[in-house]
């Protein structure tokens, strides 16, 4: 969490991007100089299916205000089926977080192909705005990790 005094709330957002589509899409956004907020910090994973729910919870524990998971479009997975598993896993995880009363808009899955630099930037802009509206993550935060 980065709170600059007299400035609006700046959320910390972790984006997990699959190496083959979304990470390349993020690169393309960069190549095309498509701006998106510096709140987004990308972690590269081989496939969206590598993302364990544990990682997402971990990010929230450590003070992330939003977590977005990006992968290849269904049917385009470099590993054929990885993102289909991701989709089921994340559906259930998000549903559970929602069930526990965690703000549902702190999590998101988006499919971004290597060619969709513009979509990547737009998605990140939109998601950052959504998380900004929610304010700091308090319901799924580990107080021990909060910075004094």
């Amino acid at each position: 969490m980065q709170v600059n005094e007299n400035k609006e709330f700046q959320p910390l957002i972790v984006a997990f991007c699959c190496n083959w589509c979304s990470y390349a899409g993020a690169d393309l956004a960069g190549t095309n100089r498509l701006n998106y907020p510096d709140n987004i910090k990308i972690i590269r994973v081989p496939c969206s299916c590598r993302v364990n729910p544990m990682f997402i919870l971990r990010a929230f524990q450590r003070g992330a205000d939003g977590v977005i998971l990006c992968g290849c479009h269904p049917g385009d997975c470099h590993y054929t089926s990885g993102n289909y598993f991701t989709r089921r896993r994340m559906t259930l995880l998000f549903s559970m977080l929602d069930f526990l009363g965690i703000e549902r808009n702190r999590t998101r899955v988006e499919w971004v192909s290597a060619a969709e630099g513009a979509k990547f930037a737009a998605t990140m802009n939109e998601f950052t705005e959504a998380v900004k509206k929610l304010g700091p993550n308090r319901r799924l935060e580990d107080l021990r990790c909060r910075k004094q």
């Binding site: 450590r62 580990d142 021990r144 990790c145």
Partner: protein
């Protein structure tokens, strides 16, 4: 003896909270009782006991010991110890009151546990005599009189009034602090209540359970007993018995990396867990049998061996009602007992 009418209890609690933090057992929605910090309007629970014992106040489940702050390659050690606030635990039963004596033998013996000592010194234990013991009670087995609980001060109820007496200086100070609300009372009805309770205690199903077969000198008799196998085979290896037990005092020390530093904390551990006593070379107690045996041998043999015959159990009965598979110290004692 000094007394206060039971319907004026809230006044009493308000008076206590004027100077100290007060914890009392209250009923939860699910029917169980737990200690909570007193807030106006709270009602004292009539339950015999809380799910978690009163040991939490002196030996909490997790306790931060020290912090390390990391900045790049530098590490700074931060002593986070603070003087504890004065507090009162009200309504402690005789069994839990005795458990503090047992914990004291562990934590206040050299080397003294300063975290525990700090809390112990600032806490006043006000006990409450039992009137409706349950079938799971067997405090008598360990020489505890449920109608005369220990503690810094003790309370007794005759159904109308609450009588209070001090057992020591701290207890007297406590009574002094609330003396404005107290008046002298006639104890005739109280004595009647207490003797009735004593009669019930004698009739409890476990009233005849005896420690005669156990003690510090019984290591050889029981360590290799063939009973351990069948006793432990259904044990799930969970920590329920340990965590609800008022006398279990084992803990683990762990580091938690907060990202910008380390919080070193201790937390309850259970000898029933597979990683209990795990060391660099591995774990000396490899099977659940050995871990199960450790817990009961500790309470019935090792602890008395090191503490002048005092057993590591107070007969509160929590493990009897909470063990998921209903295996408990009573079943162990009965199985091992030499008749």
């Amino acid at each position: 003896m000094l007394k206060i009418s039971l319907d004026k209890l809230d006044k009493l609690f308000e008076a206590i909270t004027a100077s100290k933090t007060l914890y009392i057992p209250v009923d939860r929605e699910d029917g169980a009782a737990e200690y909570r910090k007193y807030k106006s309007g709270m009602k004292l629970s009539n339950a015999l006991n809380t799910v978690r014992s009163a040991k939490d106040f002196f030996f909490p489940q997790t306790e931060n010991l020290v912090d390390f702050k990391m900045d790049g390659k530098n590490i700074e050690v931060i002593d986070i110890r603070k003087e504890s606030e004065d507090f009162v635990i009200f309504g402690v039963r005789a069994c839990d009151a005795r458990s503090f004596t047992i914990l004291d033998k562990v934590f206040l013996a050299e080397p003294v546990d300063s975290y525990y000592k700090n809390r112990r010194e600032h806490g006043t234990v006000v006990t409450m005599a039992c009137t409706r013991p349950a079938e799971t009670c067997f405090c008598g087995t360990f020489g505890i009189d449920a109608t005369s609980p220990e503690g810094d001060a003790a309370c007794y109820s005759d159904g109308e009034n609450l009588f209070i007496e001090a057992h020591n200086e701290k207890g007297q100070k406590f009574i002094d602090s609330i003396s404005a609300l107290l008046e002298d009372g006639d104890t005739a009805k109280l004595e009647e209540t207490r003797s009735k309770t004593r009669e019930i205690l004698k009739k409890l199903p476990l009233a005849n359970l005896s420690t005669d077969s156990f003690g510090g000198d019984k290591l050889n008799e029981y360590f290799n007993s063939d009973k351990w196998g069948e006793l432990s085979e259904s044990c799930l290896g969970c920590g329920t018995c340990t965590f609800v037990c008022p006398t279990c005092q084992c803990y683990d020390i762990k580091d938690f990396n907060t990202g910008h530093g380390i919080k070193r904390f201790r937390c309850w551990d259970s000898c029933m867990y597979s990683d209990f006593t795990k060391m660099a070379h591995g774990n000396p107690r490899l099977t659940q049998l050995e871990r199960f045996r450790q817990r009961f041998m500790h309470k019935l043999v090792y602890f008395p061996a090191n503490n002048n015959g005092e057993f590591g159990c107070v007969g509160c009965g929590r493990c009897l009602s909470k063990c998921p598979i209903s295996m408990n110290i009573v079943k162990v004692m009965k199985a091992l007992e030499v008749k």
